[in-house]
């Protein structure tokens, strides 16, 4: 019994820091509508800076002062990031800011290793809270008791801030209605900066307060960010109290999950999140309107299929790509194969994200279904490569179709998070159902057969399938059905009133995107000769999102350009420098700042300007 109570108290202590991180994330999203992927990075940097300060400053005052100073310093860094980066791109398409915060995350990940080294750092205990206290026959760290008390206190302070100060009232107004906030005479610029700094302060403080509990390391960022997202979504976007309740829930699930449900401990919070969203599509204490966003990827520049010249250029590009194995070695051919596979993945996400306007944070789910589909077909059913490549996309189709049915009531960030939950659940099945999937050891020996056994042969096969998938996606994009998809995205009410059911359109988009992603996953399995749970993991989802955003959400060729640029660059950087994340992050930030419409978006912009200049008197491009 007493052991359970101790476990419960540990959960409560974890809830406090989770709450601080999640409430910061929630506040930032509520006001700026930025999905701040870098929030975990700020948490981690907060811990590192606090470690350094508490090592240097002496005495009790030094420790506490160091922690607070660290949070304030990181908050200043956050404000700087907001002013230098985010402020310039609030007008960019939805989720584009996510790309910027992803760039910041990459930069931070390498910088902390550069500055503090790769090893874990153990910090000083908090003066006055070094011992343990006997409670119910168990020794409870005094620091945990401090954190347990801190949670409600932080909630109370935030409540006071939002209800009793002018800043807080403005923040709440801006969360609910931007126009109204503008009418109140708010200086939006500085309000956004202030809110961002506040959110980062909370994250960094949470990181600093972890010092006495755990060692500081460079994996802290990703570990906390996923939990924080789950907390925000369960609690309801923009609701601080919701974040508090959800933090308690998630922390207890983490504390007890491993004891009660060892088989599903890794995904229990995602299962709970899915269950909560099934009952309350806007989280426990969220409100529907906060989730509403203006049309996601709507471009004011009508999409056009390629004209004669464009098609010729594409054909030339394909021919040039096909010639690659004649002029280069196996290494480059294999790298190019991987790039093409990710281009297929990006194009499939583009159908969902750009054409249908549905954001997904878990596209890895369908990629992994394709990969495991191959493993199942080859190892389970004894099929050959051809049959496996034909079967795997069906696995993606069925998975996506079932998921979209289950998720029919959700939209916006909630739906995006549910796709992440789906991917994580699949990941845990792959990881823990060892008899079938081999667990962590994966499924090995999936080698391509016949002509594709050579790198060049497999490259051509991949190129052929890439042309097929990309071609089909473009035919769909410009077909009547493509117009239906975009119509439902632009204006759901209008679409419904002309007989185009937005729900059906969304379901179809998932089915198409799932099938395409599974093709990519199937090829990936044969390229690597094996399948691991990694194919279902978050980095694959993030990469696919980054590729689409980088290329330009509002364009039709963006995912292709984005995939080639991002994948080729990351493969190349990885071979060139040990600080490849830093370099990649800086490149992403540069692209974000220089081309807020993405790589292809900026080309379109130039072309429009050029066309307009050539025909003075005709304001509109054709």
């Amino acid at each position: 019994m007493s052991f359970w109570i101790a476990q419960f108290l540990t959960g409560l202590a974890s809830a406090a820091s989770l709450f601080l991180v999640a409430s910061g994330l929630s506040i930032i999203f509520g006001v700026t509508r930025v999905v701040n992927f870098a929030h975990g990075a700020f948490y981690m940097v907060g811990a590192y800076v606090a470690w350094s300060l508490t090592e240097r400053l002496s005495g009790a005052f030094g420790w506490w002062g160091g922690v607070l100073l660290a949070a304030a310093a990181v908050a200043a860094l956050g404000a700087l990031a907001e002013i230098l980066v985010l402020r310039r791109i609030y007008q960019a398409p939805e989720l584009f800011q996510l790309l910027a915060t992803f760039g910041l995350t990459l930069v931070a990940a390498d910088l902390v290793v550069m500055l503090w080294g790769p090893d874990e750092l153990v910090g000083r205990r908090a003066p006055g809270f070094t011992g343990s206290i006997a409670l119910f026959d168990q020794m409870i760290p005094a620091w945990d008791l401090f954190l347990i008390a801190l949670g409600p206190v932080a909630l109370g302070l935030l409540w006071l801030l939002f209800n009793r100060t002018r800043f807080g009232v403005l923040v709440r107004a801006a969360t609910q209605d931007r126009e109204m906030a503008a009418a109140l005479g708010v200086n939006e610029k500085w309000l956004f900066t202030g809110v961002f700094a506040l959110g980062v302060f909370l994250a960094a403080l949470a990181g600093a307060l972890q010092l006495p509990r755990e060692s500081v390391n460079h994996h802290m960022d990703l570990r906390i960010i996923v939990d924080a997202f789950v907390v925000v979504v369960i609690g309801g976007l923009g609701s601080i109290t919701g974040a508090f309740v959800a933090a308690l829930l998630v922390a207890q699930l983490n504390a007890f999950g491993i004891l009660l449900f060892p088989k599903i401990s890794l995904v229990i919070i995602f299962l709970v999140m899915a269950a909560v969203l099934a009952v309350r599509p806007w989280g426990l204490l969220g409100r529907p309107d906060v989730a509403q966003r203006p049309p996601a990827a709507t471009s004011a520049r009508p999409w056009r299929p390629l004209g004669g010249a464009g098609r010729l250029a594409m054909a030339a590009l394909v021919l040039a790509a096909a010639a690659l194995p004649f002029v280069s070695g196996d290494y480059l051919v294999i790298a190019a194969t991987e790039t093409l596979i990710f281009a297929i993945l990006a194009v499939s996400l583009h159908v969902l994200l750009s054409v249908a306007g549905v954001a997904s944070f878990g596209h890895a789910a369908f990629f992994g279904l394709g990969a495991y589909g191959v493993a199942l077909a080859v190892k389970g059913l004894g099929l050959g490569m051809g049959a496996a490549l034909a079967l795997a996309p069906l696995v993606g189709l069925v998975g996506a179709g079932l998921f979209a049915l289950a998720a029919a009531r959700l939209s916006g960030v909630y739906l995006a998070m549910l796709t992440l939950a789906f991917a994580q659940i699949l990941w845990s099945i792959a990881f823990q159902w060892v008899e079938v999937t081999g667990g962590d050891n994966g499924v090995l020996g999936l080698w391509p057969a016949g002509f594709a056994a050579q790198p060049a042969g497999f490259y051509w096969l991949t190129l052929g399938l890439a042309v097929l998938v990309i071609g089909v996606s473009r035919v769909i994009m410009f077909s009547p059905f493509g117009y239906g998809l975009r119509g439902a995205r632009d204006e759901a009410r209008r679409a419904a009133s002309i007989g185009v059911s937005p729900g059906l359109m969304r379901w179809c988009a998932f089915a198409i995107a799932g099938t395409g992603a599974a093709v990519a996953g199937a090829l990936f399995a044969f390229l690597k000769g094996s399948v691991f749970p990694d194919t279902l993991a978050i980095p694959v989802s993030v990469d696919s999102l980054v590729m689409v955003l980088l290329g330009g959400v509002q364009t039709t060729l963006g995912p292709l350009a984005g995939a080639v640029a991002y994948k080729a660059l990351s493969i190349w950087l990885l071979s060139q420098t040990q600080w490849s994340k830093l370099a990649l992050g800086l490149v992403i930030l540069a692209v974000v700042l220089a081309f807020p419409r993405g790589l292809v978006g900026v080309v379109n912009q130039w072309r429009d300007r050029w066309l307009t200049q050539r025909r003075p008197g005709h304001g509109e491009p054709p």
Binding site: P295, T298, S299, A300, R301, P302, W303, P305, V475, I476, F478, S479, P480, F481, G482, Y483, G484, R486, G487, R489, D490, E491, R493, R494, A495, A496, S497, I498, G499, V500, S501, E620, P622
Partner: protein, 265 residues
């Protein structure tokens, strides 16, 4: 109106009710619209007019009551089904597809109307081109068919909405404040177009409007809604002279004052 008198009317709404929390937005409202008939639904802001429209085209499911279209029950069937049954509508806050050109907007509606919207091949922008051009010409937009819809002036958006609504060859057309936000000259023109098309194609029209000149100029019949309840209905002259309406609503001249205000915009 020469059809058999005992055939069911085009639209029959009976006992419609919808409440938001405690607010009864629509409260036991019954009325009908015949084919080819032009009916105005008037009432002050918040009277429940838009909610009524949403109940009829299935956007909302009523708490009570039924919606019959030519005798067929379409209550709460959803907007897509209502559309297939022959209900077209425009919105109070105009809604068009911003990522498409004006023509593509209408073509999308035409593709949907003709059951081609699920076809994942062929060029969407070649679908029913001529019909789209004809509808746009009808709505007075012949000169701007290739413009991006996102860049249209609000009055043009309203006209585009009308063209989209007509693309489904509706039997019943619902227009929620079709001319709000337009320049005065354009308003009269838009109403004239809508009414002419309706008369020519025997479409029943139910519209809301704050511009009383438009109401009295075009409506065959007027329904007056006040705080969710239907307080009067009849020919324009009847409604104007009805003591009940005057007492409850027109009496203090609010309606006509509102008209004057609208025109000043």
């Amino acid at each position: 109106m020469t059809a058999a008198m005992n055939a069911p009317p085009l639209l029959a709404a009976t006992g419609l009710a919808k409440a938001w929390g405690g607010v009864r937005a629509v409260d036991d409202v019954s009325f009908s619209v015949a084919a080819g008939e032009i009916v105005a639904l008037i009432g002050p802001n918040g009277a429940g007019k838009s909610t009524c429209f949403n109940l009829i085209n299935g956007q909302l499911r009523p708490d009570a009551g039924r919606v019959l279209l030519s005798g067929r029950d379409i209550t709460g069937a959803g907007p897509a089904r209502a559309f297939r049954a022959g209900v077209g509508r425009t919105f109070q806050i105009a809604a068009t597809f911003a990522s498409m050109t004006v023509r593509e907007n209408v073509q999308t509606a035409l593709a949907a109307a003709r059951g081609q919207i699920m076809r994942p091949w062929g060029a969407g922008r070649n679908i029913a081109r001529d019909d789209a051009m004809r509808l746009l010409a009808l709505a007075g937009m012949a000169g701007m068919t290739e413009r991006p819809a996102a860049g249209l002036a609000y009055g043009d958006v309203k006209r585009l909405e009308l063209a989209i609504a007509l693309a489904g060859a509706p039997r019943l057309l619902l227009m929620d404040e079709p001319t709000a936000g337009m320049a005065p000259a354009d308003r009269a023109a838009l109403m004239r177009i809508a009414v002419a098309v309706a008369r020519a194609q025997n479409i029943g029209v139910l519209f809301t409007e704050h511009d009383m000149d438009a109401v009295f100029a075009h409506a065959d019949r007027i329904l007056v809604l006040d705080r969710g309840r239907l307080i009067a209905s009849g020919a324009p002259a009847e409604v104007r002279d009805s003591p009940a309406v005057r007492a409850a609503y027109l009496g203090d001249g609010v309606l006509f004052a509102a008209t004057a205000d609208d025109r000043r915009q």
